[in-house]
Symmetry: C2
């Protein structure tokens, strides 16, 4: 089951089941569909961060800022921030097209946030605001891929946006495998092997995609590992495309997020040494604002000609949506100590992150407690990617049903429990291995039911097919 087949078969099937549940609540062995398939936190009840929404609400209706009653409904720092943001927008016109890279003042604010995060200079001129990270990835693929002879190195398993975008732009997908044994480790030896192999087939490898924290694999790269990856890109002349949309989603004490730009700068590499693109999105993190379609890419180390090409591609759709632009500036410059909203903001933020960490741990432990499942820790991101060690009889039953073994498992799981997960074959996996991706996003009070339903199903499944 490819990702497309998953979208066209498993998802519509879950929608049908949902409709069936509404019509005949007694007809199915469960009382609700539990969506563990996509990274869409608000759809599962995660609440928006109040400060961010206050500012967006004020910027959407600036006439409120002149009214005294507004102070009864909005925090004073949200009102102040809305004023500051409107001052950055020419004519305070949130309804106007902006510069195709995004509002300059908002880009500068984002750059200041990056500099504060990394301890290295960042410039608003290098920021391209986009309608989420996906359009930014497409823009870069459009620029990098000239023909099927141009290859892009991508992890396997990978978030299928990358394979889809490479296919859309007519390039070659050059996979490198993450090592499940070492917690989805990204080894430079493996990168080198795959680059050499691709080159031997006449492919010009142009860029390396790294997703950190990983999707669907949830690992957080160690600083030493990141340095080796930077060195590798430098030596091989590759553009480093760093998908860093989960930078706020870290759940373990001993790991920290380091941007690849920070790593490169800490190694002494400047803008002249390494072309590097970092993707960020308002859809992930503790904010999870998928519906706002906001994000940016920070583009460094390209010459003026390429920069102009990027700008031209960005201009084709005029500009990204202004609410998404504003929200991008807010996530990179949240309330600070002393602001009226600071304490309540921190309660909301830490509440979401610590709850996600508890959910990740509970699900991981549950999966690991079961016969025939092994599961690496979710150090970050929003996913677990457990491995299914399926009995031969189950694999045979899947083949007889014309499905990939993990797709067969996912379908049986859905039919029995209403839990929706994505088969590993949608992301790519090492030959002969089977997985599924399960988000950690259902609200915490649902987790015990998910675990018990899952366990019951899995035990029966194993009993049914035990060799």
């Amino acid at each position: 089951m490819s990702n497309t087949e998953y979208q066209l078969v498993l998802l519509p099937y879950s929608t049908n089941l949902e409709q069936e549940l509404h019509k005949n609540p007694e007809s199915l062995p469960f009382d609700e569909i539990l969506y563990c398939n996509i990274g869409n936190p608000h759809s599962l009840g995660q609440q928006p961060v109040t400060f961010f929404r206050e500012v967006l609400s004020l910027c959407d209706h600036p006439a409120l800022l002149d009214k005294s009653e507004t102070h009864a409904l909005y925090s004073s720092d949200a009102i102040e921030r809305a004023w500051q943001i409107l001052e950055k927008i020419p004519g305070r016109a949130t309804g106007a097209y902006s510069h195709s890279q995004g509002v300059k003042g908002l880009r500068d604010e984002i750059a200041a946030g990056i500099a504060a995060r990394d301890g290295f200079h960042a410039s608003g001129d290098n920021i391209f605001l986009t309608d989420g990270a996906s359009p930014a990835v497409h823009m870069m693929m459009q620029l990098l891929i000239r023909s099927e002879k141009d290859g892009i190195l991508c992890p396997l398993p990978q978030y299928p946006l990358y394979s889809a975008s490479i296919a859309l732009h007519g390039g070659s997908f050059v996979p490198y495998f993450l090592d499940e044994e070492t917690g989805w480790g990204l080894e430079v030896d493996e990168l080198k092997k795959q680059v050499d192999e691709a080159r031997s087939k006449g492919i010009t490898v142009r860029a390396l995609v790294v997703i950190n924290p990983g999707n669907p694999t949830g690992q957080v790269l160690a600083e030493e590992n990141q340095k080796k990856i930077v060195e590798f890109c430098k030596n091989e002349g590759l553009v480093l495309l760093a998908d860093e949309v989960y930078q706020e989603n870290i759940y373990v004490e001993d790991k920290q997020f380091h941007s690849f730009k920070k790593i490169a700068r800490s190694m002494g590499y400047t803008d002249d040494d390494l072309p590097l693109v970092s993707f960020q999105s308002v859809s992930k993190g503790y904010y999870g604002e998928c519906g706002k379609r906001g994000g940016y890419m920070e583009v460094t180390g390209f010459n003026a000609d390429v920069r102009e090409q990027i700008y031209k591609v960005a201009s084709v759709n005029l500009c990204s949506n202004i609410s998404g632009q504003i929200l991008s500036s807010l996530i990179m410059n949240p309330p600070k100590v002393g602001d009226e909203s600071y304490e309540s903001f921190m309660v909301e933020r830490d509440g979401i992150i610590s709850s996600l960490a508890r959910r990740a741990k509970a699900l991981e432990e549950a999966f690991n407690s079961l016969e025939g499942i092994t599961c690496n820790k979710a150090e970050g991101a929003m996913y677990l990617f457990p491995r299914l060690h399926l009995p031969q009889k189950a694999i045979g039953a899947a083949q007889a049903a014309g499905a990939a073994p993990d797709a067969y498992y996912a379908l049986r799981l859905l039919q029995a429990t209403g839990i929706v997960v994505v088969p590993g074959s949608g992301f790519g996996q090492a030959p002969g291995t089977y997985h599924f991706r399960c988000t950690i996003l259902p609200q915490e009070d649902k987790i015990p039911a998910i675990i018990s339903r899952f366990k019951e199903f899995h035990e029966k499944f194993m009993d049914e097919f035990r060799d």
Copy 2:
């Protein structure tokens, strides 16, 4: 000067002049840059429609709906509408990805608005919500164009989104000329001639683009003319791509907007007879909300396979932004008689449209009063496209400067007056003719100054180059 050259030369130049003005107000012969180049109403001071912004503001911060103080700041029907909209969004989660076509309840509301406008049935299943009309056009081009042998019929002059998108997707641009003599008439004879010529070169003509009201030409098609166009598409087996984003921008008593779907249905053609796509946007009309990036396409007359392909393409970027989706539903279902906001809404709406009509008329009359300029009426849209009958000496001077004659004129105009227009060569024009596009969007109190500065410049220019 192509459109790209215009973007890369004339626009940066106007930005430089603007910066120069800030630094040395006395250094230039004018005191402000007057942007008559893009259809971006709010950037020139047009105010947003209050009701629309109230609803957006409430949907961005739904917690407001539970507070009594909210009634002091928002109209009661905006509060009610926000409730209704949130009810249509699963989990009231405006921060979640929606269905890739957009929120079903909002699509149904848009379909009801289309049905009320046209008097013919419309279905929410046929609506694809998008981040403005541009991504919708790109989606259709991606689907229609398989190789350079696939051609798309487009008007000349045309809004360059179409040529850019066809080039991006590797197809062939097949132009048909609008007849300036008959008010930018669209003649079926001309369409037939161009289709036959393209076919003789081995091009498979797949679709016809019609922009109504016209951009950059401002004409509104007559009903009889539209019927002939529908008949032509039916006979030739073409997909009709109807750019109807200016449907609310009509400035003359004797013309009305008719959607191509209404025309086709009134001729008795059903969903089985004619593949038809209508593009609509929140960026134009009396609302002019360019920065919100909202819009939709209504897709009818395609078989299930093609529909599935459209859905797959729509899925690649997950969904369009939810604020844009909400705003799309609002423009297709504005306040009605009896609603608290109705009267103030109508005052805002009619104020904008009647002012645009006065501006269109004033500019048109001014252009037509000048030696060497003829200008068709702006019946609709946001533009005038005056023709420059340039003296041979001026054409020679342009050639000596290495510029297209209309680009040379536009540059001289900018240098002398600060007025920014787009040279006709950016849109394509009949060989040997020269034009420029001038928006009717500067606020009404600026129009007299624009006219007098323009007149003064033009008279001097003609004196300088008179043969």
